[in-house]
């Protein structure tokens, strides 16, 4: 155990503490249950804000915690006597860098807001909050884990928790949505696991020589894998003809590409990239509001984060060659999402397609392969997380009041619920990228980064922004202005408990729009190592 205080462990497992307390509380104490859940969600937020204050942009991986979880002996015996053991090493390894930090903050913040927004959950509250907090542990862990298997464990925790949250507390078609979610994401996880196993088997292999004996180790440690991939002396880079014709741990060029493509598909399902997106629509339509806030606000970001951390950082050369493909996929997502959002009749589906479209911008930023573009991508992740959480929260509030999110049945809400309508309008403007709000910065930086290398794609993508403006205004204005429907006449405006997360989310959207350097500063330094590697390789 490290001598310093394990802050990251506290951060990740703070929600679990809440779970333990929740289990001790009788299920009828609904107010107490809610209070504990919100407190358990506030705790990681406070911790992550504190870490943000302590974070020193110049130091690469901070608050590192490493501990051997288990060394599993595989039943192997060497024919040569010197090999003493053959083990699979699994480490508990957490670290914070400039890419994790904004996403951890985002996850903790959205988690807290979603916990506040969970007042509308009316059945089986106790198990709801248990799954909710498990989900939060999972997503915080994903952004901090530095062991491949540990990452996978946290990733799967979110999968299982989401399944229950959708299947039990969702809207009418919840079971089908939960199933679609499960199968698609399960497929993505399986592909990811396979890529990870290939990586562990090749790049994670080390032979540690001690006095008179050799220990063969498979390791899932991210750092070990990254170091081995860069080290020309490591087994993974020694072609068989250099080693008496036999090196099962060698990673050929084809293998590198295979692993990279597997990772692209795995995280592409999560992100989602265009042909792999259909599951997301069901989830956004059927899942309960707080869960959609988290899903759209944080979980989709895990895909982009994984792509950056594992796909691009570990395989810079392959990623660079695939940059054009990534950019065109991003463009396809942007245009397809925007065009379909324009044609939707349901506000939630407009938002779902809008998410698809906005995640395309992230891909463009990543494909730029320069500091500005990748910063833009990370910024866009955070910004879209905030905006989509806000918009889905409002959609939920509207649905609770009018019983529908069909655009045709909504209108003139500005008269009956002015506060909600005002926030909706602001959120819409942020979504379409109005300067001064956070959406603009992410888009602008991504486009700027990509413009250096791929001008055509950038111009086409910018054209997609015009469609964005059209669908956002069409739906938002349709809801707030126009003739007031019968259903909307006697509605109450937002209660305090609903207004708090709305105001908080909007405040951060404005803050990031006005002072983007709050975030970009931390990201820049962490990208240096990757970019310098690119310059050497490229």
């Amino acid at each position: 155990m490290p001598e310093t205080i394990p802050w990251l462990t506290f951060l990740v497992f703070a929600p679990l503490l809440g779970v333990v307390v929740l289990l001790l509380v009788p299920r009828r104490q609904t107010r107490l249950l809610r209070l504990i859940a919100v407190a358990a969600a506030l705790l990681p937020l406070a911790l992550s804000l504190w870490l943000f204050g302590q974070y020193d942009a110049a130091v690469p991986d901070q608050f590192r915690e490493q501990a051997a979880w288990m060394n599993v002996a595989l039943n192997r015996e060497a024919l040569s006597g010197s090999v003493t053991s053959f083990i699979y090493q699994f480490q508990y390894d957490l670290a914070l860098d400039g890419i994790s930090l904004p996403l951890v903050l985002l996850a903790a913040f959205i988690g807290c807001m979603a916990a506040l927004a969970s007042v509308n959950i009316r059945k089986r509250r106790k198990s709801y909050y248990v799954w909710f907090l498990l989900l939060e542990t999972g997503m915080l862990g994903v952004f901090l884990a530095r062991d491949l298997l540990l990452f996978f464990l946290f990733f799967e925790l979110t999968l299982v928790a989401m399944f229950f949250l959708i299947a039990i507390w969702g809207y009418f078609d919840r079971e089908k949505a939960a199933n679609t979610f499960l199968i698609y994401n399960g497929l993505g996880s399986a592909v990811m696991l396979f890529a990870f196993i290939l990586l562990i088997y090749t790049a994670g292999f080390q032979a540690v020589e001690a006095a008179g004996s050799v220990e063969l180790i498979y390791s899932g440690s991210y750092d070990a894998i990254a170091a081995n991939l860069l080290n020309p002396e490591a087994y993974v880079n020694l072609a068989p003809n250099l080693m008496d014709g036999d090196n099962p741990f060698y990673m050929s060029g084809e293998m590198r590409w295979t692993v990279f493509i597997l990772l692209l598909v795995a995280f592409g399902i999560k992100l989602p990239i265009v042909p792999l997106h259909t599951w997301m629509l069901h989830v956004h339509k059927e899942a309960p509001v707080p869960v959609v806030m988290i899903h759209s606000g944080v979980l989709l970001k895990m895909g982009a984060y994984g792509l950056l951390r594992f796909g691009m950082f570990l395989f810079p050369a392959e990623a660079r060659e695939a940059a054009a493909v990534i950019a065109w996929l991003g463009l396809a997502s942007i245009l397809y999402g925007a065009l379909l959002a324009l044609r939707q009749h349901d506000f939630k589906l407009v938002l779902a397609y809008s998410s698809l479209s906005h995640m395309g911008i992230v891909l463009l930023g990543l494909a730029s392969f320069n500091e500005i573009g990748i910063q833009g991508a990370v910024f866009q992740l955070v910004s879209h997380g905030l905006i989509s959480a806000l918009l889905f929260l409002i959609a939920g509030s509207i649905q609770e009041r009018t019983g529908t999110t069909e655009l045709a049945e909504l209108g003139g809400l500005a008269r009956s619920v002015p506060f909600i309508s005002g926030v909706l309008l602001a959120g819409g403007l942020a979504s379409l990228g109005l300067p001064g709000l956070s959406g603009f910065v992410g888009e602008f930086l991504s486009f700027l980064g990509l413009f250096e290398s791929m001008k055509v794609v950038t111009v086409l993508a910018a054209a997609g922004m015009v469609i964005t403006a059209a669908y956002v205004l069409r739906s938002v204005l349709g809801i707030t202005f126009g003739p007031l429907r019968e259903s909307g006449e006697e509605l109450r405006d937002a209660r305090l408990i609903e207004a708090v997360p709305m105001i908080a989310l909007l405040a951060f959207i404005i803050l990031l729009g006005l002072y983007p350097s709050v975030l970009t500063g931390t990201t820049a330094d962490s990208l240096q190592a990757f970019l310098s590697q690119l310059r050497v390789g490229g």
Partner: protein
């Protein structure tokens, strides 16, 4: 092997090493005599407890032998091997590991079964169950230890014939009779296949001993290549039927459905485990020395195809299945496919390895989740009066703790992290990557994802559907105990797989136990 070796006979010390099997047989005889001698009015529940004692005694002897031979010790000493009856019967680390697994599984199956058998009106003679179960377990133990085709067949038939009757033990149930008949016919045919294959193998190599077969096979291949293939493929085919590996699995759903739940669990866990353990030892000694020859590659390819088809067929057939027992039969076929992968990936040239630990580990995981689910099903099906999936509807409201236990067991089946099922699959896939059989590992992960569909369907029934009644379900204490043993072991292995893997690594030695030579 000369004939004098075989006639050497048993010394008293040798008999000492057979105590695990002898204990079981002696207890079976005791139960039979008591069952016959005691008047009808005496409740036969004690026979169940006696059989449990017999199994635990046997487990004690196996563990004692394992420790005596130096297996499981942490000091890295190479465990010793005891060869009995002209090297046809081996007491070694490999055998000990699988015997411990199968005996523990049998104990966990009997424990909740005792009350179930007592309450089942369709079982006429309660004591009979255990008279038959103990020899079946003894047969399974023999299969773990055998290093000779004849001994293998003795163990195999002892196990099979006892289970034919066990499947039909509900004499007053038509379904059970049908199942027993099907199992008898299919089992008889497969035994005949195995015997036929053995006769060819003996014919071309001149020996029934694994080590001798392995030595003679190069010459046999040169002279009678086709006959060697015939021998091996008949034997493998017969084993595939017994294992219910697709495409030889069609009997399994009917038999599993008709048999009482504890017998089904026994078929799914102990029978499969014993056949796999025997098959691995046979394969490593006879075909794998031929690795990198066309013959060795062909045999491995046959296993790979068998594994892949079992996974794919088992999983896809289970998709539309609503009957829990039939579902578990088909998922058992898929799981057999997973467990065949360690057999199929062979050994490598860079470092000598066996996949025995992977097989053993997944077998433990599979045993825990299967027994846990069947024990739950024992209770639920009695409440619901049928085996359909909707019997689980609203279980969350009727028995919340059991519902949570089921969730963990089903997640283990689906291969979700934090469970033994996940780590088991992880190690198997790692092994398949090692031999560069990427497609096999890929198939395994893919079919695992498809299997989410039906495992999570049960979870949906339990948590999202409304129950027909709100009546609480009370579990008999023995069932509850079994379920929670399975659940806690599943979680423990999911978090700390080293517990079992390191034990097996210390106990099993590739060069001494598996490669007889």
């Amino acid at each position: 092997m000369t004939s004098t070796d075989l006639l050497q006979g048993l010394t008293w010390q040798d008999v000492g090493y057979l105590t695990p099997e002898i204990t079981l047989i002696a207890m079976a005889v005791l139960i039979t005599l008591l069952d016959l001698a005691l008047p009808d009015r005496i409740n036969r529940a004690f026979t169940g407890w006696l059989s449990l004692i017999g199994i635990l005694g046997s487990l004690g002897f196996v563990s004692w032998h394992m420790l005596q031979l130096g297996g499981g010790a942490a000091d890295g000493a190479v465990p010793g091997v005891v060869r009995l009856l002209g090297d046809s019967y081996r007491v070694d680390g490999y055998a000990s590991v699988f015997k411990i697994i199968l005996l523990s599984a049998s104990a966990l199956i009997i424990l909740p079964g005792i009350s179930a058998v007592q309450r089942d009106d369709r079982v006429v003679d309660k004591g009979e169950t255990y008279t038959l179960l103990l020899p079946a377990v003894a047969g399974a133990l023999i299969m773990c230890s055998t290093a000779d085709l004849i001994t293998l067949f003795v163990g195999l038939e002892l196990l099979s014939i006892s289970t034919y009757v066990l499947v039909g033990i509900r004499k007053r149930s038509g379904l059970s009779q049908e199942a027993a008949f099907k199992y008898l016919v299919m089992g008889g045919i497969s035994s005949a296949f195995i015997l036929f294959g053995m006769s060819y193998i003996y014919g071309v190599t001149g020996s029934t001993n694994y080590g001798a077969i392995g030595g003679a096979i190069t010459g046999a291949l040169a002279d009678y290549e086709a006959l060697v293939y015939v021998g091996f493929f008949f034997l493998i085919g017969g084993f595939a039927v017994k294992l219910a590996a697709a495409p030889f699995h069609a009997w399994a759903p009917d038999v599993y459905q008709g048999a009482p739940a504890s017998v089904t669990a026994f078929l799914a866990v102990v029978t499969k485990g014993a056949f796999l353990a025997a098959l691995l030892r046979f394969l490593f000694n006879t075909a794998l020395p031929q690795l990198h020859t066309p013959f060795g590659e062909d045999i491995l390819l046959a296993f790979k195809l068998l594994a892949a088809s079992a996974m794919i067929v088992g999983t896809t057939a289970a998709l539309r299945q609503r009957n829990i027992k039939r579902l578990l039969a088909l998922s058992g076929t898929a799981n057999t496919g997973y467990m065949l992968v360690p057999l199929a990936v062979g050994v490598g040239s860079f470092v000598q390895w066996s996949s025995a630990a992977e097989l053993g580990y997944y077998m433990i995981a599979y045993a825990l989740m299967t027994i846990g689910v069947f024990t739950t099903h024992l209770v639920i099906s009695r409440e619901a009066g049928h085996d359909e999936m909707n019997g689980y509807a609203g279980l969350y409201y009727r028995a919340p703790w059991t519902a949570w236990a089921m969730v963990i067991l089903l997640l283990s089946f689906a291969g979700i992290p934090f469970t033994a099922g996940f780590t088991g699959k992880l190690f198997i896939v790692l092994g398949s990557v090692k031999s560069e059989d990427y497609w096999l590992g890929g198939t395994m992960l893919l079919t695992s994802v498809i299997s989410y569909y039906f495992y999570f369907a049960i979870i949906r029934q339990m948590f999202t559907r409304a129950a027909e009644t709100e009546k609480r379900i009370l579990l008999p204490p023995s069932s509850g105990l079994t379920i929670w043993i399975c659940v806690s072991a599943t979680l423990a292995l999911g978090l700390l797989p080293g517990l079992a893997m390191n034990w097996m690594d210390r106990t099993i030695s590739v060069l001494r136990d598996i490669l007889l030579g």
